[in-house]
């Protein structure tokens, strides 16, 4: 899941990024309004975390402009202002959630996941695909009612979740790459194939029905309910 964090306080941005990355998110950082605007318009993000007090262009203006221009990416507003008025104003201008500083990273992560589920119109935090259960809240995966023999790394889990959100549909390598890696990552999209192999080893190995399918020339797909 790729997140855009627009925050000018470097220490805070660094900490949040580290925290989110350790949860399997890919995090891009923008240090001011202009940069944030540019990134939001050029890349695809699952959620944008937006600080309101920003150099150059302030958060509320950014939000207003995005909504006006039809950018519907979920926005979580993060600000030091905690007054009801500020919160209402932010929500009115099209923010999807609101968090006041200081906050706990755990809560931020939970809210981000909730926003992502909303993006994919999933209410149940547990995704079920055949005999595969993905608990998006606790980020645990079961196959045939039992936990996996070898636990998934955050990156592998993020890949599985991404495939699960798009089950029955083919997702291209670049889509996967864009959602799993931030803009600072040096890796190329080949790394996606490597992670698909890891994931197959952990999910499909030892089971009769392979869930991760390869569409040659197109990409990968998690088996849908119909097949």
């Amino acid at each position: 899941m790729r997140i855009l964090l627009i925050e000018d306080h470097r220490v805070l941005a660094r900490s949040v990024r580290q925290g989110l990355e350790e949860e399997g998110f890919a995090v891009d950082i923008a240090a001011d309004g202009e940069e944030g605007d540019y990134k939001a318009r050029t890349a695809e993000y699952d959620v944008i975390i937006l600080d309101l007090m920003l150099p150059k262009i302030d958060g509320l203006t950014l939000l207003q402009n995005w909504r006006r221009d039809g950018i519907t990416t979920h926005v979580l507003v993060l600000t030091a202002r905690s007054g009801v008025e500020d919160r209402v104003k932010g929500l009115d201008l099209g923010a999807d959630d609101y968090m006041a500083k200081p906050f706990e990273v755990k809560e931020l992560v939970a809210r981000l996941r909730a926003l992502i589920r909303r993006t994919h119109q999933i209410k149940d935090p547990v995704l079920r695909i055949h005999d595969l259960e993905i608990d998006t809240a606790s980020r645990t995966v079961k196959r045939g009612g039992k936990p996996l023999v070898k636990a998934l790394t955050p990156k592998e889990y993020a890949l599985l979740e991404f495939l699960a959100f798009h089950r029955g549909k083919v997702v291209t390598r670049s889509m996967i790459w864009e959602h799993l890696y931030d803009d600072q990552d040096e890796n190329t999209s080949n790394v996606v194939d490597v992670y698909i192999r890891y994931l197959r080893n952990k999910i499909d190995k030892g089971f009769d029905l392979p869930l991760i399918l390869t569409r040659w020339g197109e990409g990968y797909m998690l088996r849908g309910d119909e097949a």
Binding site: D8, V11, K56, K101, F103
Partner: protein
């Protein structure tokens, strides 16, 4: 001490009204009373005059009656007197003719001769033989005047020949004075007087001199002396005697003289004689001074002297009745006047009371109405709260008198509102500024504690924590600085400082930072520039300005510090080649928590407090700070301090 405007206004107004009403009341009343009193006096005078007139009338009537009675008496006495003797005497005169025939003629001759000659002897002679006066009172008096009481009617008849008669009522007393003291030339004369017959018996008397007509023709001498008025009936106007100075009784007189001794108004009071001289007591009848015996003059014709008097009781009773009537009328008049005045007074009082009552009500209403704007202003003021600083006065315009108050109040409320908002904003700003580093620190710590990490990772995270804590510390320090400045406890520790040297020092501190950003930093100075100021605060000011110049400069820009004298002031100017700022930003640049841009430098340490502190410090040092700036062309901050060399 005035507690209530309404109360005091009402009281003062009513006091004024009371004064005015009192004055009007007094004026009207005194005028009316003056008029009424004048009228009353006139009326009284009229009544008095009427009374006097009546008294005179009464006296005249009395006198007339007396005179008539005296004349009647005179007639009667002549009728009743024993004339035969006189006739006999008269016949004796014929004896002269019979001197020869009568034997005793020669004897009588001298007498007759004496008789025919005017002389004392002759007179004495004839007097002794003249008739005695007779009078039958019981028969005469009723005829004289019906109903006349014999007890109160006195008369005395004297004659030239010595015989006299006194009425029976004059038993013990007699008329004082000489009845014969009329002028001898006047045949008929009369005069009135008031005399005291007896002690405590005053009477009105008339003295009448009439010729004894029945004696005519008696003696030639007498006949000759008569001046041709003999035939006149008594009672008619007596002839005017050339020598007589006495006013004619009965004739109209210029000034009616009341009877002496009994002035009608006040009996017993001072009496004025006809000559105007004062007399102590009623003098009684006024007679001509008696002539000395040597001057005795024989009357040409014997006269009767009738003195006749009535008691004054009736007269006085009448007068008393008149007086009573007068007094009653006077009294009535006074009573009516007093009643009229009382009525006027009551009416005035009633009018005043009604006016007063109306004024009380009117004043209350007017004052209430007049104070209504004040009340509404008070109401509006009471509506002011920290949530709403507006003065809810509505559309009704305030009266001119309250205009300044309302304006001032609005101004003050505006200031208060701004102060309140600033306070609220400051609290929000402070919490905001502290929250971001706090959030950073908490997040970092959370990440650090999430799982075991390598030592390098911990070191990195701890370094982040330290940075955040440092930032918080700096913000707190600055807030404390401002709080101290606000509280006025941050005192200036002035000493002589070389400003140029200080600028150099500061430039040296920030130069690495500037150069790291590719900025050129230059200090322009002309030798030492000593000023008396607080070096710590001045350094703080310069450091802040230099940091800002670095922070908001463009890449490859420059910073120039100029130290010198300017217009009698010592001035430090810090010029940058940065983005500059528009006018509205320039106006707010020294406000707390105001940032032209929300940007922070890389360590995130600018909270918008630097320039606020700079301004406060410069103010404290007695200097001035101004900023020139044009957008895109950089800004120049000039700090000017008083030049100690000039002072």
């Amino acid at each position: 001490v005035i507690r209530s405007i309404r109360f005091s206004l009402v009281v003062y107004f009513l006091l004024l009204l009371t004064l005015a009403l009192g004055a009007a009341f007094g004026l009207v009343y005194s005028l009316a009373r003056q008029t009424v009193t004048d009228k009353l006096d006139n009326e009284r005078k009229r009544i008095d005059a009427q009374f006097t007139e009546k008294a005179h009338e009464e006296e005249r009537r009395l006198d007339e009656k007396l005179l008539v009675q005296a004349q009647a008496l005179a007639g009667l006495v002549q009728v009743q007197t024993d004339w035969p003797r006189l006739t006999g005497l008269r016949l004796q005169a014929l004896g002269v003719l019979s001197v020869g025939a009568t034997p005793q003629a020669p004897l009588l001759m001298p007498l007759w001769l004496a008789e025919s000659v005017r002389g004392r002897t002759s007179w004495e002679l004839s007097r002794s033989v003249l008739a005695e006066l007779r009078f039958n009172e019981t028969e005469v008096l009723p005829r004289l005047s019906p109903g006349l009481s014999a007890d109160s009617f006195f008369f005395q008849i004297d004659s030239d020949w010595g015989s006299s008669y006194r009425s029976e009522s004059l038993v013990t007393s007699s008329f004082p004075g000489n009845p014969r003291s009329f002028a001898p030339t006047a045949a008929i004369a009369h005069r009135f007087s008031t005399v005291e017959l007896e002690p405590n018996l005053e009477v009105r008397s008339v003295q009448l001199k009439v010729p004894a007509t029945r004696m005519l023709p008696f003696g030639l001498g007498w006949g000759r002396s008569h001046r041709g008025n003999d035939g006149r009936a008594p009672g008619t106007d007596s002839p005017r005697s050339p020598g007589s100075r006495r006013p004619e009784p009965g004739a109209p007189s210029d000034e009616p003289t009341p009877p002496a001794g009994s002035r009608p108004t006040e009996p017993g009071a001072d009496v004025r004689g006809p000559d105007g001289s004062r007399a102590g007591r009623p003098e009684g009848p006024r007679f001509p001074a008696p002539r000395s015996p040597g001057e005795f003059e024989l009357p040409m014709r014997p006269s009767l002297y009738i003195q006749c008097a009535v008691g004054l009781d009736e007269y006085r009773n009448t007068l008393a009745k008149y007086r009573e009537a007068r007094d009653k009328e006077s009294h009535d008049l006074e009573a009516r006047t007093a009643a009229g005045l009382a009525n006027l007074r009551n009416r005035l009082l009633l009018t005043s009371t009604l006016t007063f009552a109306a004024a009380v009500l009117g004043t209350l209403l007017l004052v209430r109405r007049g104070l209504a704007p004040l009340a509404s202003l008070g109401h509006a003021v009471s509506k002011v709260s920290p949530r709403d600083f507006r003065l809810p006065l509505g559309d009704s315009p305030m009266p001119r008198e309250l205009g300044p108050i309302v304006a001032r109040l609005n101004g003050t409320l505006g200031l208060l509102k701004r102060a309140f908002e600033r306070e609220k904003q400051a609290t929000a700003d402070i919490s905001h500024e502290l929250r971001t580093p706090l959030a950073a620190m908490l997040t970092t710590l959370e990440i650090a504690l999430r799982k075991p990490r390598r030592p390098e990772e911990y070191r990195e995270l701890l370094e982040d924590c330290r940075l955040s804590a440092q930032q918080m510390n700096q913000i707190v320090e600055r807030l404390l600085t401002l709080a101290r400045l606000d509280a006025g406890v941050d005192l200036l520790r002035a000493q002589t400082v070389d400003l140029a040297e200080l600028a150099d020092q500061c430039a040296a501190v920030v130069r690495p930072l500037a150069e790291a950003r590719g900025l050129r930093l230059r200090v322009q100075r002309n030798g030492a520039l000593p000023v008396a100021t607080d070096p710590d605060k001045m350094r703080e000011v310069l450091m802040n300005l230099l940091h800002n110049a670095i922070q908001y400069n463009r890449p490859e820009g420059s910073i120039e510090v100029q130290v010198g004298r300017q217009d009698g002031q010592v001035e430090v100017a810090v010029r940058d080649t940065g983005i500059g700022m528009p006018a509205e930003v320039r106006g707010r640049i020294f406000e707390r928590f105001y940032r032209a841009d929300q940007a922070r430098n890389e360590d995130g340490m600018h909270a918008g407090l630097g320039l606020a502190i700079v301004k406060e410090y410069v103010d404290l040092m007695g200097g001035r700070i101004v900023v020139d700036s044009a957008e895109g062309q950089g800004s120049t901050f000039r700090v000017s301090l008083p030049d100690p060399g000039k002072a």
